[in-house]
Symmetry: D2
Subunit: 436 residues, 4 copies
């Protein structure tokens, strides 16, 4: 059957690429993927998947870094203008842009695949040397671009759905396959809300992956290098007064913030491994001769392990709170994103390796890597599944690109989408057939 | 002659008020008083004054807090559209908006009067309870308003010119009278450039004054309470880098700024009297996950005496420089305004008092006051004249106002302009007649 | 009677001076004045005063900056060896070294006089040019010296007692006279405990004074320049850990202290007048490679008014508390001294002036002064009396000295003690005779 | 011959142990090892080594953290009283306590062995459960103890000398063997001065080692985990003034220090690996009411690589300098210790492994370890030799101990000294016989 699968994938290859180009042309940032998600929901339904979406798969209060109501409204309407599915868009309103399609093959192991679908605030390159521009499918939404390959991920997810639907009757089950299309991976804001909605509660195996600008032909079977991270916005609210006439009547929110900045940067290194802390922006005060009454800070922490990240977070919050109280100033902490660290399950890493070898389309297969250095909120899902005894993996499919991720010239070699579809599908079939 | 003067002032009262309303309707902020100054120059010329303006009376490099070239250009063109004098506006171009008119009555004591002419960035109140709105002469330049009475000062100055021109032949000279119309008093930015141009070099007596929202009928003969002040904008320029991937490669301009803020606020009190220091605004950084590469701070210091202010300035600059160097960051200090403290000459205070009493239009005459608590760059002129043996004074004419200075409802009782014109003129005549 | 008083004072002059020299030779620092106070109590008793001492006049918990138990014990024993009164020393044990002698002349106005009796931690000059050394009455207690004239104050107090006892029958009462001998004025630590014990509760007039190294012959009738002040010791207790091996396991008490220091120095100026804040000493940490686990700071604040001092104190405590909590560190605040600001009652200032003039022994009489710039815990007593409708005054008797206060060469012209005794006695008689 | 060596080592085993106990009983801290070094020099001379010592092997200005002249003098005299060699102690005077003994077997490879000889400021445990106490050879120098095994290292070095001298004629040379006895390893203060004196200039192979409290029978062939480190003492010198009367006249050395502390702790993490920075102690100020005029800080930095350590050092010095200048305060940096990081040469690691296996006395042989986490100034020697093309290694011989290093109960299993002597000797013979 393996060969029949790869042959079929080859056949639908242009369809997958067409999906990719469509998503690329209409990029939508986190929690505004109204058009993208509605189209995915439509296709999964057509293919016979049991589809849940909106509030059923996205827990409201677990969403982080949600855009303002005005932005959500604006993007919702734009999606409608740009061809969103009029029926399926409705449950997505107000930033509930997740979709989960399930194929039920009877009681058995539950395998979940995760595909992230959001774009970035990047202006796409407009020169002809950029393939999407040359072929006319570059972003028409100014300032927004699929510069991290999530357009591919969404398309690959639909491709996987097409294959599974096609071979549905033949799959040696029993079991259940969940295709999770997650909003707002950028800024690590969306996965927690999917987990919060219980989507991973019954999952035995969870699989994630990423197209990576490194070199076409590389397969990294298990990425273990993601750092845990938390991102928060801090606001301080003091009291203004005239700096000359009544300086003591003010409550100085700039002193609070500057004390916080120095102390946040002073948080001790952790013996267990790497840590990071950054106050990326600080805006404070209204005018030269006024005691500053407010401050806004964007803060980010990272830890090589969850323990380190928790240490940083606890310490940071203590600094933030007490630098406010010290100056009699109110403060507010708003979580804007978070992701844990995690380690792929050996058994799944080995299966990815086996399948990669069997596929024969990869030049270089690397077992595991610690090299990520960034963060991925997929790890929430993997941790969740592993915590109740299941297994998880995150593999990386290399591709050629003129430029790195988040760059206006980022692109992929579209053939590599086929490799990814094959890897996902064969991995699922392998697990369903012989769980352990 | 005193009676004839007051009678004449009464006659031209409506003219003075008309000037005030015209200036009020077309307010222009510091160094953009193109329309205002050109009209003043025109009228002084018509009245027979020897008029100098532009670069002849404003030293380029001594101007502080100059608007950008674009802003200067924009306001220049707007002034032309709003009826500026086409001839006299030319020398004012690029922010040289000072005018000095001299009446030469032969070799003798030189008396200078200073009138400031700029408006504020305040939105004028649009309700009918606001007199200028009701009468239709409120600001047509959105976001700009004569909310500190400099429209009155400019009108008073022209009124004084009218009177002096009228009685020119009768004045018991000899002597010289200089009417100085100064730009950019708000933010204490313009007086230094007038002094820098040498306008005060030959002056024996200098007189300044202010309409003050306190109560109509009050005359304060000498205001001694002005604090010395210096205002500067600080910019730090470091180097950005990825906060997760290469934090050590950045040069953190936010740490530099926060270190500066805490240490600036920590500058010791001065044993000789009151001091103030404020960092009013701080803006730093570009994004959450980027080591902040730049910071901008608006700083202001004030001292009860010039010595205290100099102590603060020297210390502040040391902090600013070394907090930058500490973090390997470049820095730039841009002076945005400055004014010294000073004490009125007793002899002139006494003359103001005598004239106030003789005029009979003031209910309450106060000899000197320490109550100002703000700053006035006029003091540059007074210090300059006193340093070479001359005398100076700054008196205050109370007026009724619904609201305080810099408020959108600030207004004056227009009758009080007449009192001010009388006081200036009689003081000048008194000095010219009997210098000491 | 005035003349008979001054004659009598002249007669007992050598006795007063002998007391001064005895106290000078055996100086005792705050709360260890066991010998001094026991001798005072003995003499007051002999003179017929109703004497209270120890816990009856010193409220235990209101004492600030109390020496350690070991020090108290050591000085108690030394006092016994140095001739303390064996009976009267007993109630003074453990640092209750206050004495109050009352002369009851029947129901009438209550007049209290305050004399402070403690010495300083200063090494007395041992050269012959120093009068006490030359005459052999310089300190035999190494490192302790009466370098602020409280030996004189104690002697003057006894002198006043001698006179009042002598003329007891003739005083035109009725009324009550309280002589308060207060411990621990240095560091402003003792007066609060006298007030706390209720000694001032029934007082209608309270009088304090000081010998001042300025010039013999000066009398300042009312000193109004004392700043309010609070002094506290701050300790932080964190947790040590190895700086290389486990830095995150420490709780860094040095970061807490340094954050406190920078922020304490950053407390805003007060619009109402002068303020001061100083962290005078900071000791933190145990070894180079250990995360610092403790910090000790000596802090002092001063305000031109009580309101300013309270503003500083409240703000300072907030900084101290939250800089500790920020770093998860415990903290402790120990009050080490405090004094309010205050203003002498005009009526008493005038009486001092009148008496000074009548006495004829003063060359230069100054009504009031703002020049003190230091602090005096006597003001607690004056505030207390004024609060319930009474009156208070603090006058200064100038004297010649080779060096200023707190200097190892400080001395007085002993004749000036006579002037002080006269002033106190005549003031008391004047008040008792004609209260208002 | 290998067997004859091990047999001979067995024979002299008690002699080696006797040396160890003697050194243990008379411990001497860094740069005061007058008795220890003089005895070593005496024995090496007796054994026929060419001995250099004092200034010939210790470069004066490269010594770091030298004790005061008084301390050096005191310990020199104590050493004489405690049986130091009267002849060889002389060149060691003033803290030049290094000894190098050379065995010249003709032109050939130069092999250097390094033994550190200093003790620690630790109070030795006095209970019978502590073996040295039980046997009566615990420290008689109160507060000083060989709690890190350098007594063993010194004894091992003499043991090696005994063996080499015994077999001198039979060694298959040619070559040269240098035995380096280094002072002041604790605090990483002495090795730089040995290198500075040129002792390593002609060395082709350098070998160091340590007895480690882990478990008897372990051999780690190459330790690569030492962190680079620099230790410095910082002093700030400002100007005192009265905190109430003239606060602006002071130059506040506490503000300088606190600014330094916060910023030193804020130095960014390094992308290449672990870093540490600690201000371990801070002492500042003289009295509560005095602007603090001085500060002293003990600072320590560590980096996983030399590059990281240099980054920290450069940044730290910039902070220290500019926090001083910011407050117009002088500063001084005194280097108190330093050591680089380094990597053992593979070839030597392999030889240690081979010899360890051949010896048969080790249960567990580990090739290389990264686990050190501390620092060793031996690495200066290894870096020096490797830089000119030579090779170096540092091996670890495990031993049983009731407590860890630097603990008052630290001890070794004395049999393990024999293992170490064997390993050193056989390694030297192996290299001399077959250099590569």
């Amino acid at each position: 059957m393996k060969e029949r699968v790869t042959t079929f994938v080859e056949e639908i290859g242009q369809k997958v690429i067409a999906y990719r180009r469509d998503f690329h042309k209409y990029p939508e940032v986190g929690f505004t993927e109204f058009r993208t998600a509605s189209k995915i929901a439509r296709r999964l339904t057509e293919l016979g998947f049991d589809v849940k979406l909106g509030r059923d798969v996205v827990k409201s209060e677990d969403r982080m870094g949600l855009p303002s109501e005005e932005e959500l409204e604006y993007h919702y309407n734009r999606a409608l203008e740009q061809g969103a599915d009029k029926e399926f868009i409705k449950p997505l309103k107000d930033g509930f842009t997740g979709v989960v399609g399930t194929l039920n093959l009877g009681n058995g192991p539950v395998v979940a695949l995760r595909f992230d679908i959001d774009a970035l605030k990047v202006n796409e390159h407009s020169g002809e040397e950029h393939f999407p521009t040359k072929l006319g499918f570059s972003s028409i939404n100014k300032g927004v671009m699929h510069a991290c390959g999530h357009d591919c991920h969404a398309a690959i997810g639909i491709g996987v759905a097409e294959v599974l639907a096609h071979f549905k009757e033949e799959i040696e089950g029993p079991g259940k396959i969940k295709l999770i299309f997650q909003p707002a991976e950028e800024g690590v804001r969306g996965a927690k809300a999917i987990v919060g909605a219980g989507i991973l509660d019954d999952v035995d195996y969870v699989i994630g992956g990423h197209m990576m600008a490194m070199k076409s032909g590389i397969l990294i079977c298990g990425e273990n290098g993601f750092m845990a991270t938390t991102k928060f916005d801090i606001s301080y609210k003091g009291l203004s007064s005239h700096a000359g006439g009544a300086p003591n009547e003010g409550k100085n929110a700039m002193l609070a913030a500057c004390t916080a900045v120095l102390n946040l940067n002073s948080i001790s290194r952790h013996k267990e491994g790497a840590s990071r802390i950054n106050v990326g922006t600080l805006v404070s005060g209204t005018d030269r001769n006024v005691i500053p009454e407010d401050s806004l800070m964007k803060v980010e922490i990272r830890g090589e392990t969850n323990e380190i990240n928790e240490y940083l977070e606890e310490y940071a919050l203590r600094i933030i709170e007490n630098s406010a109280k010290m100056h009699n100033v109110d403060y507010n902490v708003r979580y804007m994103g978070a992701a844990p660290s995690g380690v792929c399950s050996d058994e799944l890493v080995n299966r990815v390796k086996k399948i990669g070898n069997e596929l024969g389309c990869f030049d270089k297969i690397i077992e595991t890597s610690e090299g990520a250095s960034g963060s991925e909120d997929y790890v929430y899902m993997m941790n969740k599944v592993q915590k109740h005894g299941g297994k998880g993996v995150y593999f990386i499919v290399g591709t050629d690109s003129k430029a790195g991720h988040h760059n206006s010239l980022f692109d992929v070699k579209e053939d590599d989408l086929i490799k990814a579809v094959n890897t996902y599908v064969l991995l699922v079939l392998d697990i369903i057939k012989k769980p352990y």
